[in-house]
Amino acid sequence: MNAAEPNVLVKASHLSVRYGAKAAVDDVSFTIPKGRIVGLLGHNGAGKTTLMKAMVGLTQGEGELSVLGFQPRPQRAQLLEQACYIPDVAILPRWARVEDLISLMSGIHPRFSAERARSLLRRTSVGLRDKVKTLSKGMVVQAHLALVAAIDAKLMILDEPTLGLDVLSRKAFYEMLIDEWCDGERSVLISTHQVEEIESLLSDVLMLNEGKLVLSISLEDMEKRFVGVSHDAAVAEQIAAAHPLLRYRTGAGPSGNAAIFDGAPPEHVQALGQRIRPSLVDLFVALTRKPELDRTHF
């Protein structure tokens, strides 16, 4: 680990990843301390998968990147002993039985505990004798998480882990992750499109837009920095004049209007409505809109 910053698991400094002339990740800097659950948000093509790949040494970046004190590309083998990664294209071999996968993992990963994997699987409806091809999509993802969470690692990187799962499978997935893996020391980085659903799980958020990091903040600081005001349609013009980051509708009727401000707006503007907690999804929309769609600049 980094001797100067023992609590920092990941540190990126002016990191870029280029595919030809295009920068998929463009000059990003951030840190991930211990014991955090970090959401990596961005539209398709924003660079989420590329960033995660760089973090586990699957692609080469420019700039500085340290993960658990290792340089991911040259020190990939050592890094992967202490970090787990479920890529967005993760598959388990269809012909294998779950118990075969446990034996396989025991053979290849020094920090994998077969006993722990079996105990995690008991939380699920997946049986040890089940073949992967007989499992539902939700059960496959649960089995995959049980296998990966049985690795005694410090960092877990999950790329769109719940894509295509129904709501109960998604809940079961996150429940296992929090209850069984997060212990206040380990950190998780999760990318997802289901922003509303994981907002309350997160301690921090990294927001990517076209390769650039547009926000890197703890949820606690986010609630202090960004101020939501719900207001009546009658005062919409006064609200707009105070230059909010985003105006949106929270419900039907004239009172269902809201605006998000970066920093507290002046008293007389706040007095026009009621202060609300800006949701992560609204902030995401505000910070990642395509400029050509941004009407507030007209």
Partner: protein, 116 residues
């Protein structure tokens, strides 16, 4: 999944929800609270948020920390909660209710106090 409103911090909403459960005797006085991780898993919340909610309940004298054992519901917690609820009803709900009864012209005699 659990939904949280945007009027109050989430930890406050969780604290209110847990307090309502304590009032119903879940868990009973003297019994252990579920662990932070169990609550975080159940409500899909960040453990830091759960910690804040539990701390708020501790500050209200509802939970106590027994060293090495975790959090327990304090003796007298339900009575304290009931007193706070009673107070809230009398000072914030009752005036509104009384106002509504007046507007509708309903007298005390017209109200049926017995369950039928």
């Amino acid at each position: 999944m659990q939904t949280w409103d945007d009027r109050q911090p989430i930890y406050q909403q969780l604290a209110d929800m847990l307090a309502a459960q304590l009032l119903d005797g879940d868990p009973l006085e003297g019994a252990a609270m579920p662990s932070v991780r169990a609550l975080a898993g159940r409500y899909l919340l960040n453990p830091l948020t759960v910690n804040r909610a539990l701390k708020a309940l501790g500050d209200e004298g509802l939970l106590e920390n027994r060293r090495g054992l975790g959090l327990f519901v304090m003796a007298g917690a339900r009575e304290r909660l009931r007193a706070a609820e009673r107070n809230r009803f009398l000072h914030s709900e009752w005036p509104r209710l009384r106002e509504r009864l007046r507007r509708l012209g309903i007298s005390a005699q017209q109200l049926n106090w017995e369950e039928r």
